[in-house]
């Protein structure tokens, strides 16, 4: 399935340009994944209390436009199979136990990416009785991807940024603190 949209398939030229740029960059990104990871990256999505906006953008990574698998990255069904936890939402109280168990079920080394304003700081829901102000209060975050929701391109960038940090984990060195993906990818 080709990710290249047909000419004139989009209402304004702008979004298509982003996809074309991204495709041109794809060989470089693929090399990055292969160089740093040497194998495929398996991602587990975890909704920890989002509005479902970030989650639909994660789902959009799998559509023929973004075709995440072309980068050697795939979403897996179980945390047992995952190298990376892609977390959306504020971390609600009703979910906290299940979210922690999901993280604990992952084999090490493991990475955590906080997706969207809510996962970073609670977003518009900060200060609520019903949860935390971001997932960082209970999970060790490696990369923050800002946005409400972040665009698919920003999510891809965040995933690759996280992958670049894998060697530090593999060598047993502590991470040098959270990194932030550039949300202005598109």
């Amino acid at each position: 399935m080709s990710g290249v949209p047909p000419a004139g398939g989009s209402p304004s030229g702008t979004p298509d340009v982003v996809v074309v740029d991204e495709l041109m960059a794809a060989p470089r990104l693929r090399r990055e994944v292969q160089r740093t990871l040497g194998r495929s990256l398996h991602v587990r999505h975890l909704d920890a209390g989002s509005c479902n906006g970030c989650d639909w953008e994660i789902a959009a990574l799998l559509n023929p436009y973004h075709d995440l698998q072309r980068l050697g990255i795939d979403i897996v069904a179980s945390p047992r199979h995952a190298d990376l936890l892609l977390v959306t939402g504020i971390m609600t109280r009703n979910l906290e136990l299940a979210a922690l168990r999901t993280y604990e079920a992952m084999p090490e080394p493991r990475l955590v990416v906080a997706v969207g304003a809510c996962a970073i700081s609670g977003g518009v829901f900060a200060g609520t009785y019903a949860g935390r102000d971001g997932i960082g209060e209970v999970l060790p975050v490696d990369v923050f991807v800002p946005g409400c929701p972040p665009r698919p391109e920003a999510l891809i960038q965040g995933l690759l940024l996280a992958v670049g940090r894998m060697p530090a984990f593999a060598a047993g060195r502590p991470p040098s603190g959270p990194a932030a993906a550039d949300g202005g990818a598109s």
């Binding site: 399935m1 949209p5 004139g8 398939g9 989009s10 209402p11 304004s12 702008t14 979004p15 999505h45 975890l46 909704d47 209390g49 989002s50 509005c51 479902n52 906006g53 970030c54 989650d55 639909w56 953008e57 994660i58 789902a59 959009a60 799998l62 559509n63 023929p64 436009y65 973004h66 979403i75 069904a77 179980s78 945390p79 939402g89 504020i90 609600t92 109280r93 009703n94 979910l95 136990l97 299940a98 979210a99 999901t102 977003g123 518009v124 829901f125 200060g127 609520t128 009785y129 019903a130 949860g131 409400c148 929701p149 665009r151």
Partner: protein
Amino acid sequence: MAEPTFGVRPGTPVEGVAPDALGSRVAECIEAGGRFAMLVGLDERSVGGDGLAVEAVVQAPGGAIARLRAGVSLDEPAYPSITRLVPAAHWDEREARDLLGIVPAGHPDPRRLVLHERWPRGYHPLRKDVPVSIRPPDAERHFVPFEVHGEGVYQLPVGPIHAGVIEPGHFRFSAIGERILHLDARLFFVHRGLEKLVEGRAFGAALPIVERACGVCTVSHALAFSEAVEELTGIEVPARARWARVLLAELERLYNHVGDLGNICAGIGFQSAVSRLGWLKERLLRINDALTGHRYLTGIVAPGGLAFDLDRDGLSALPRSLEAIGTELAAAVRSIVRSDGVMSRFHGTGVVSPATATSLGALGVAARACGLDTDLRRDAPYAAYGDLDVEVVTASGGDVAARFHVRAQEAGASIRLLREVIRRLPDGPVMAAPGEPPTPGAVSVTAVEGPRGASWMWLRAGAGGTVDRLRLRSASFANWPVVAAAAPGNLVPDFPLINKSFELCYACTDR
């Protein structure tokens, strides 16, 4: 039997009802042709009262509403449950008990709903004397699932964390062999305390929170909220904004319906259709982006009209894009419904009878696929829908095939409606001057027909143009119990398909 008092908006008067007469009064209004809209729990102390209250809202066939309110004392916060007379109210009553401590005595399911077992007893966050930021200590109690027991019956717990990129919910199947006997759906894992968070905030500051009840129904929720604020403050929305709101609402319906048609196919692993429709949905999201700068149309609808005008280039490109998408969508749908393999899975799966849909108060596609001819765009028009001829699509099967059919036809109807709106979109300003702050205690009840059905908003003003109490009852909230009713008799592996055919949102249910 007294005549039900349906009032015309705005300013529908409240009918005071004795607590033990509430259920029978609401049932009378429904028997007179009304539809249950919501039950809202209230703490009256912020508006000069000395206790609690529950208010039921029923909508008459013409769109007028009746508001029936029963007072409940703080010392003994209980009233006779109305659920046995009005089954559609069963989750509303459980929610009011958790969040306000108003006990529906005799409710058939007294378990917790919104605040799970880790929340301490006696903590009711929507009480006015409880600050928003208090996070009480954990309680050590355990969830008691509703299970069917007997020879050969086993329990299948699924979730809250699921295998796909989907929202969290716990499903407890009682099954015999592969056949579902009963489904207990436990939600509210993504409860974010939205209704408490907006209290005391200015309308404009509450909007971004209300809008994010659900990331893919942002236009619907922003529109229902804006209409309520406009009614309270006496703002007249400029003509261009009224028409542009229809355009945005139909674009929201279209990208949701196209995506949902693909998701239904994902429920049976029909990958070529998933890719085809996923591709179309992505193009619709890019259209949204070009028009408003946001792929999910967030941030444009605001009290008074629109926060900014639609992008000129995006708008001029829209008719041609819609035409291409309409053609490709029709071709994709044709290829799906002509596949015997697909239709044999769709037909007769997840059947909901019209009687079940009526009594549980099903809304939107879920209702229309059971033959219930209901659509607020036609029945109680808002924005510029009153000037448009809205095609209402119904089907009779009540199964997955019917819900697929209704969505596919509605997507086509949305494209036709969009074409007309673009043609007739007037020029002029998109934002009205700010209105007067409403009288504290004034209430507005509004509803819009979102992609999943009617989204109801109950808004009471506080001092100086702030929110005193807001309740948002989304179509997903109304339809979840219908999903649970659609499951028994089907095979467990068909449940993902049934679930996707309703395509409900957890986020705006849980808030």
